[in-house]
Symmetry: C2
Subunit: 478 residues, 2 copies
């Protein structure tokens, strides 16, 4: 019997990993069961382990409570059964606010209460491009405004995506066909390293578990394989606090799956994930029923950002436009809006009380388009999105809820109005009587904030510059 080597402490929302030696023969993915019970006083959290190749098994745990924890392992293999240990969960380190949760119905916040405003981007297949390009992507992200990344677990086959990935998620049998009963540890070790790299940059990893862009057979696996895949991914990755589960990209284009499959997938993820990470599913033409209790927020593909209010009302959950078309110049309609239009859509969705995601699709001689492979950014929207993020970081911590047709805010706190293609030279704001406000004109494209002279209260008519793409922020005087 091998006693696992384990650290004696871990920070809150960090990863505590047990590593155990066990059988490497047979099919460990099918034959071996392993879990651990982590105990804090009388509370027990059961965590599934997973096989990581070469006779090594792991159990990963993300403790959410500071203090003394104990554990005991359970396995159908005696050499991994009944192992015990103890460790201390310490205060989180700098920048560690825990996983993101839904907050105030329509918004998000970290587990420690810090507001989280998702400013997402999309690089579907960035983690399948080899270290050189992947590291360039990470360098780009380090200086970019994004704090959420939509990315696929499976490799991607699509226009501008013809290269083979470095790793595959399954092993092959002797005939060269996929052995769907054997996950590739190398694939997942690499993939989770990239998830960890994002964590290091403060970026949430919105992991897309299924997608239709496939030439290998990963979009058409049988139900047993799908379910085992989901449990394996959750066992490996859920202890990363920055993980979100996106059940699929354009789920409605996956002809081999039924709506009952999607419902089942949600339930499997929900029951397997001890931490309740965020769960969503992304559409092409037809929405999944986002009012289902296992959906934490609506992940929407749509170009009409003005509909955010409608969907807030419909679902009573955060509305995230994960795809509102991409800045770029490819022929495909979803990938050729101007930077100005992208920035406009960010502001429109934000002022409606929702959240908007970025992507970029400029033609590239080697088909390195950010939206899929990462690399570097070429567009003009990211710096404006960074500017928006700055504004939101100064905004009401409770999040923006719609006020009238144009604005968002909270009674008594900061209001933000966005006028888009409208260019009023004057505007009447109905501010709470008695409270005093100062006003700024925000040029969303030029990235300027210009104070308007005066102090406003109650019904206030304010002169504006009369140009498009302006916002007005009203802040209560301290």
């Amino acid at each position: 019997m091998h006693k696992p080597t384990t650290p004696s402490q871990v920070e809150r929302w960090g990863i505590y990993e047990l590593s155990l030696e066990g059988p490497g023969d047979g099919n460990p993915f099918l034959d071996v069961q392993l879990s651990a019970h982590f105990t804090y006083n009388h509370r027990i959290v059961e965590i599934d382990g997973f096989y990581d190749g070469a006779g090594v098994y792991r159990v990963r745990f993300m403790p959410d409570t500071v203090g003394a924890w104990r554990y005991v392992t359970h396995s159908n293999r005696p050499e991994m059964d009944g192992q015990t240990g103890a460790f201390t969960c310490t205060e989180p380190g700098p920048g560690n606010h825990g996983p993101v949760r839904v907050h105030n119905t329509y918004h998000f916040g970290y587990a420690d209460g810090t507001p989280y405003v998702p400013i997402g981007t999309t690089c579907y297949a960035w983690a399948h491009q080899g270290d050189k390009l992947e590291e360039q992507t990470l360098r780009t992200l380090k200086n970019a405004p994004f704090n959420k990344m939509r990315m696929c677990v499976f490799p991607k086959h699509y226009a501008y995506n013809q290269n083979e990935p470095v790793y595959y998620p399954f092993e092959r049998d002797d005939g060269g066909r996929w052995d769907f009963s054997r996950f590739s540890p190398a694939f997942f070790q690499h993939f989770e390293r990239r998830v960890g790299d994002l964590l290091g940059l403060g970026i949430e990893a919105d992991l897309i578990l299924f997608h239709p862009y496939d030439r290998w057979g990963f979009a058409t696996m049988d139900a047993q394989t799908d379910d085992r895949y989901l449990r394996y991914v959750v066992a490996r990755l859920a202890a990363h606090r920055n993980v979100w589960w996106s059940l699929a990209n354009e789920y409605d284009l996956m002809e081999a799956k039924t709506m009952a499959d999607w419902d089942r997938f949600f339930r499997i993820v929900q029951e397997s994930d001890p931490y309740g990470h965020l769960r969503s599913i992304h559409n092409c033409r037809r929405f999944y029923d986002h009012s289902q209790p296992w959906v934490t927020h609506a992940s929407i593909q749509n170009s009409d950002l003005s509909r955010v209010r409608e969907w807030r009302e419909a679902y009573r959950k955060p509305i995230v436009f994960d795809e509102c078309c991409y800045e770029g110049d490819v022929e495909q309609t979803w990938g050729n809006i101007s930077a100005r239009e992208m920035v406009h859509r960010f502001w429109l969705g934000t002022a409606g009380g929702g959240y908007v995601g970025h992507g970029e699709t400029y033609l590239h001689p080697e088909d390195i388009l950010w939206w899929s492979k990462g690399g570097v950014l070429h567009g003009q929207s990211p710096e404006r999105i960074a500017f928006l993020r700055q504004i939101l970081d100064q905004g009401p911590p409770e999040g923006l809820d719609p006020v009238g047709r144009w604005g968002a805010g909270k009674e008594g706190a900061t209001y933000l109005f966005y006028f888009g293609v409208h260019q009023p030279a004057e505007w009447t704001f109905d501010l709470p009587e008695g409270n005093q406000y100062q006003a700024d004109v925000i040029d969303t494209w030029e990235m300027t904030v210009t104070p308007i002279e005066g102090v406003f209260t109650g019904r206030s008519k304010v002169a504006l510059p009369g140009k498009p793409y302006l916002a007005v922020r009203l802040k209560p005087l301290a």
Copy 2:
């Protein structure tokens, strides 16, 4: 008995007017009936006359056939009954193409077959502003691109519209109240002079018969008065070949009228108008049923120009966005879009197979906003709309019908694609095999037409500049 003085000839689609002397006492509007039968060979056209004040009665007729016409009058007053005469209808003069009709289901053409592409504007109350401003408006129109004017018969009460009109449509009784049984000849003489001024400029007068913006009581007259008013307006104005009937502006805001009233108004206009001028009705929030047989084209207020295809399919009639918001800077949402957005909406509607109207609402120290009072234009969209009109004047005479998602045209003729906020750097056009096309890039804002090198046929991938608000025109080589 007074023999009327009448000219011996009139051009086709000109106005042939009989002037008769009759009773000036009593109430000529109620007591006196007058009509004339105009005869060409065995064809008889019955035309209602009207009282024009000071004992003068008139019958106005617009002949549509060149040759010898005769007439005989009918009246319940013997001095105006049984008068006869003859005249010759000659070929139309230069610029006279007759009234506008629906052409090719979704389009318009003059009666002589010349295509008519409506490029409308809106000056609701321009004809109620006094000669000085009205003449300034006419001078502006002379150099503007517009060939259709939306204008109200009744004066207008609304934001930025607080002044009294020069003339009122009814006389007052001794108590200073309106005598709705007596039309004011001075009002209508003035109004029809302005309609004639537009005719002289080649501009169709889209006459709005009712509207809700009222402080005088013209929006809440009783049914008998409404009906008599409609017959009087038609009798006076229908002989002007440039007249269109718009039953109402924002009909659904007129609380005193029921849907049955609107149906009846349409039928009255239809049965009173011997020439079958175009008939429509304009909505605020809720459409009238444009599929009714008495509606010749849909007059729509909506900001979503991309819906033109949907409404073409729904109504199988021309779709005219008479109000898609106005270029300007007032506080009201409908009156503060940027010039760029206005131009964008024109192109979007046009490329979808519809027609779009202009209006302008820049704040003015004396409240002279073009959209209502006329005056001069301040905006940047009219010159770009003139550029669009030039393009359309060179386009397929049959009108543009949608092709795919982005384009419009006719098999074998000119195609026009508009990309709006999209900026593809390449695009694949599916042109008919065998036909050869030349291509131009049109910058809708910069107003440039740049030929693309090469000749294209069949499926053709074409490099584009990759900036927004561009169109591509494909013309068959002769």
